[in-house]
């Protein structure tokens, strides 16, 4: 069996780093990025972490701290982050064709068979991503994905590593595993961690040396895999073919509570319209639609409900999608509730060229397709796109991104300006 080598490449403080690329004066300044609606902290610069800003903390709770230390605060700019993520992945794919995009800011690379020094190669990856995209990354290298995660974690914390650590065949592997608390091991959830700690397993090294049959009886086959992975036996290969999309979801939090059916309908109509665009981009059609509405989870009079409808003929016509979504809202809306969020999930997706036709279909499908293509074509060209009337005009329910930076890689009118 040829020996596997995996590298986990992970962008440091990804959202904050993206902001810094286009605003270099933020370098070395405490900076945080907030979630939708400027709710919670979702990214922190190292300086902000040092000030004690926690991950996921509601912004209002730390308003004083942020002000006192003059922390730079940004609304999330997902358009920018997605574009920068694409650039990082594109850069990484020049180093090996075997790449698994694990999340917006992480990728596994398979480096098996590379004869050069892996640490040097990792360093080169780090330097190239930094130069091409401006983003700092950490590279952890090891013989399994689980160990690569650990290598990455140590590389991030250790000043000597300078962001690159090769644990493959390293004499320090035992030492490294001793540093890692068992709950930090990839694949070990909170519950398993509690169980393990009770049984006396505190570190990754303890877990590695655990008795396999005991692990199997307590944690099943996935637990066994994790132990094997810690022993350097590869159980998880790269997943390089992301499964075809099984559903498309568009849902957003409202900027403020929504109490009328009219506003709820406007919102769901614009999500339906967005979902239709997504469908058509992927040349898919949906045969089923689920709409859900919910109030805040934290209030007494809580209400969550969902409604699913099926289309006789799978469709990606926005008019049909909006029509269906509005029917759903009619059956979901209850007076007296303060809605916080609604969303639409399109399921039962089929290729738009392979839609099962119906004998009794009353819609001219080819005409519908041409209309949708025309709308999409117009919308890609106009700064002020065409909207469906049901979406309404002012969108008072929409989330406000008060402190969002410019979308300088995807909008002509928001490009970076340089004097």
């Amino acid at each position: 069996m040829s020996k596997e080598i995996f590298a986990l490449v992970d962008c440091n403080n990804f959202y904050v780093s993206c902001e810094r690329v286009f605003e270099p004066k933020l370098e070395n300044r405490p900076t945080v990025v907030l979630s939708n609606n400027d709710g919670c902290v979702v990214a922190r610069s190292n300086e902000a972490k040092a000030l004690g800003v926690g991950m996921g903390v509601p912004a209002f709770e730390i308003a004083d701290l942020l002000k006192k230390h003059n922390v730079e605060v940004f609304s999330s700019n997902y358009t920018l982050y997605a574009d920068m993520s694409g650039r990082v992945m594109q850069t990484l794919s020049t180093f090996t064709p075997d790449i698994e995009i694990y999340s917006i800011d992480e990728a596994f690379l398979n480096l098996a068979g590379f004869s050069c020094s892996l640490a040097d190669y990792g360093r080169k990856i780090q330097q190239t991503v930094k130069k091409w995209t401006g983003l700092p990354v950490t590279v952890g290298i090891a013989s399994t994905k689980t160990l690569a995660k650990i290598a990455n974690h140590i590389a991030k914390c250790s000043p000597q590593a300078k962001g690159v650590l090769d644990l493959a065949g390293s004499a320090y592997l035992d030492k490294a595993l001793e540093q890692i608390p068992v709950e930090k091991v990839w694949g070990i959830g909170i519950r398993s961690a509690i169980k393990l700690k009770r049984a006396g397993f505190a570190t990754a090294r303890d877990l590695r040396d655990a008795d396999i049959s005991w692990i199997r009886s307590k944690f099943g086959v996935n637990g066994v895999r994790t132990v094997y992975e810690l022993r350097g036996i590869c159980c998880y290969q790269l997943e390089d073919n992301p499964p075809a999309k099984k559903s498309i979801c568009v849902s957003r939090m409202f900027g403020r509570a929504v109490e009328t059916a009219d506003e709820l309908k406007e919102a769901i109509a614009s999500y339906a319209s967005r979902a239709g665009e997504k469908l058509r981009q992927k040349h898919l059609a949906a045969a089923a639609m689920t709409v859900f509405v919910t109030t805040s989870r934290f209030i007494e009079n809580r209400y969550y409900n969902q409604h699913t409808i099926e289309f006789a003929v799978a469709t990606n016509d926005t008019r049909e999608l909006i029509g269906g979504a509005l029917t759903c809202i009619d059956s979901l809306f209850r007076k007296g509730h303060q809605f916080k969020k609604c969303g639409i999930i399109l399921a039962d997706l089929v290729s738009e060229d392979r839609v099962q036709k119906s004998l009794f279909d009353s819609i001219d499908r080819s005409k519908s397709r041409r209309l949708m293509q025309a709308v999409d074509a117009v919308n890609t060209r106009l700064n002020c796109p065409l909207h469906w009337a049901a979406e309404g005009l002012n969108h008072p329910w929409q989330v406000k991104f008060k402190r969002r930076s410019n979308r300088c890689t995807t909008r002509w009118d928001e490009l970076l300006e340089v004097a």
Binding site: P24, R87, T133, Q373, A377, T380, A419
Partner: protein, 143 residues
């Protein structure tokens, strides 16, 4: 790898535009003499952008580089992956501010030169925070 799409915008798959390489119809067996010479369309993206992952568009503000044909409001194509050479026009970061200038590298001395007599050159001192952000490869100027 397909590389027809410019980097700044995601590929637009919303419409289908079929572009056969051979357009000429052959009704009676005589092929068009031009058909053999038909080539793919010229693609400005491919011409201007060698490395999409590292290429960014930047808008010019101000007139300090007019001598280099870079005017207020122009669009710069910036490739971060290129190594900086003497006389390159670059986007540089000085003390946290972005600027477009011509870079001069002589031995240990780096100078950023404007191309407009109303501005003066800026020599990079050792204590300055300085970095080349990217190399400008093209100017797009609307007439």
């Amino acid at each position: 790898m397909k590389c027809k799409v410019d980097i700044v915008y995601s590929p637009d798959m919303s419409t289908k535009r079929k572009q056969p390489l051979f357009e000429a119809r052959v009704p009676a067996g005589f092929p068009s003499p031009a058909a053999d010479y038909e080539e793919d369309k010229l693609d400005l993206n491919r011409h201007l952008i060698k490395n999409p992952a590292a290429t960014f568009f930047v808008r010019v503000a101000g007139d300090s580089m007019e001598g280099a044909g870079i005017h207020h409001g122009d669009l710069l194509v910036v490739d971060r992956s290129l190594e900086t050479r003497d006389k390159n026009v670059v986007i540089a970061v000085i003390n946290g501010e972005l600027t477009v200038k011509r870079i001069r590298i002589k031995k240990n001395k780096i100078t950023l030169e404007p191309e407009n007599a109303n501005y003066s050159a800026h020599q990079i001192t050792e204590d300055a925070e300085f970095e080349v952000w990217g190399v400008v490869t093209n100017v797009i100027h609307q007439l």
